[in-house]
Subunit: 204 residues, 2 copies
Amino acid sequence: MRPESDTKQKLLTVAMDLIWESSYGSVSVDDICTKAGVNKGSFYHAFKSKSDLAVAAFERHWESKRPLLDQIFSAQIPPLERLEKYCQAIVNDQKQKYQSFGKMLGCPFCSVGSELSTQDEKIRQKAEQIAVRSLKYLESLIRDLAAEGLIEAKDTAELAEEILSYVTGVLMQAKIENSVKHVERLQHGVMRHLGIKSPSSVTA
Amino acid sequence: MRPESDTKQKLLTVAMDLIWESSYGSVSVDDICTKAGVNKGSFYHAFKSKSDLAVAAFERHWESKRPLLDQIFSAQIPPLERLEKYCQAIVNDQKQKYQSFGKMLGCPFCSVGSELSTQDEKIRQKAEQIAVRSLKYLESLIRDLAAEGLIEAKDTAELAEEILSYVTGVLMQAKIENSVKHVERLQHGVMRHLGIKSPSSVTA
DNA sequence: CTTGCACTATACCGACCGGTCAACTACAGT
DNA sequence: ACTGTAGTTGACCGGTCGGTATAGTGCAAG
């Protein structure tokens, strides 16, 4: 086929969708192949295992989100506004998924990471790597918030980890509660953790 | 057998252990039966499905933790000390599991809840119920902290949800990172979220 | 002794699992 | 036209899945 590897791309997209909607364990290779319109043999020509596909799907999903993240966390934007946009992007994403699927899906990296971290080391490492990448955005944001005197941060790295834990925790609880309500207060909770009082701008 | 249902108890305990160590999807009914020394027939005499067993195991695990929780959150203890003990209990539990299994296991309710919330409504509801029970402890604690003037809490329920999200988020990240380091800062992070400065007592 | 019942034991079910394989196709370089 | 190779196809593998069927056990009440 001409288009490089159409098959690979299709498999990655479909795998991410299916696994995000249910779980790694409950989605079979056949499920993925069927929905992607790809034969079993082609699957194993493109990826050497189901686990391998999951790792690649993680990477691809992150890459697909990067442009938006780079935009949100742009140094051109005042840090407080970055924070707002970040939280809003998460909330919007979750709401959109909720409308599509009728249920809260949470963070795919965390859901699968939490499911498989004790069993599949490669997937655990990938989930960890993505957490580390997320922390880079947050650390930079926190430093800039401190530079503007909005917060006092002696321990930037630790604070970033706390924020990430909180954000992912909220998404997990929202999934368990299967409700958007919880996640809508995300920004408020993040602000409280950072010790920022402000009602800030409207941003609407 | 005399001892009521020894079989049932054994299955519940073994199921919790195995599922906590790996995941719901990767533990089979046969695995559970073998490790519990129970035959398949007896399993399905005691529980009508694997999912049913999981729900019962959740309930049993919570009940086994209740005495400790009631003790930690006793109104006889100053609220700040309750908070410290709560965090310490979690850290100790995680460390102990880490030593036993060589890996971080996180919170079983959250791991399984996150894995199955979109697929098994009964398990989702059980996980949610346990979250609600946990919130009761936290809300009461927060009210008492406010009564002592240690924090200002207009929105007790929301604050309790935030703390629970943070705590479970930390446990999940610790599992993904497979490190105790992260979870050791739990108390510090909780204090920050509550806006309590104090280095407080040593408690060591 | 006999009946009834809670519980156990094991063989078994069809469906499905992740993964393999050899035959095949399409196309690039020669 | 010939060959090497990347990619495709679908039948097929042994094993395992959650769950069932049925026969058998020990025991307490009649």
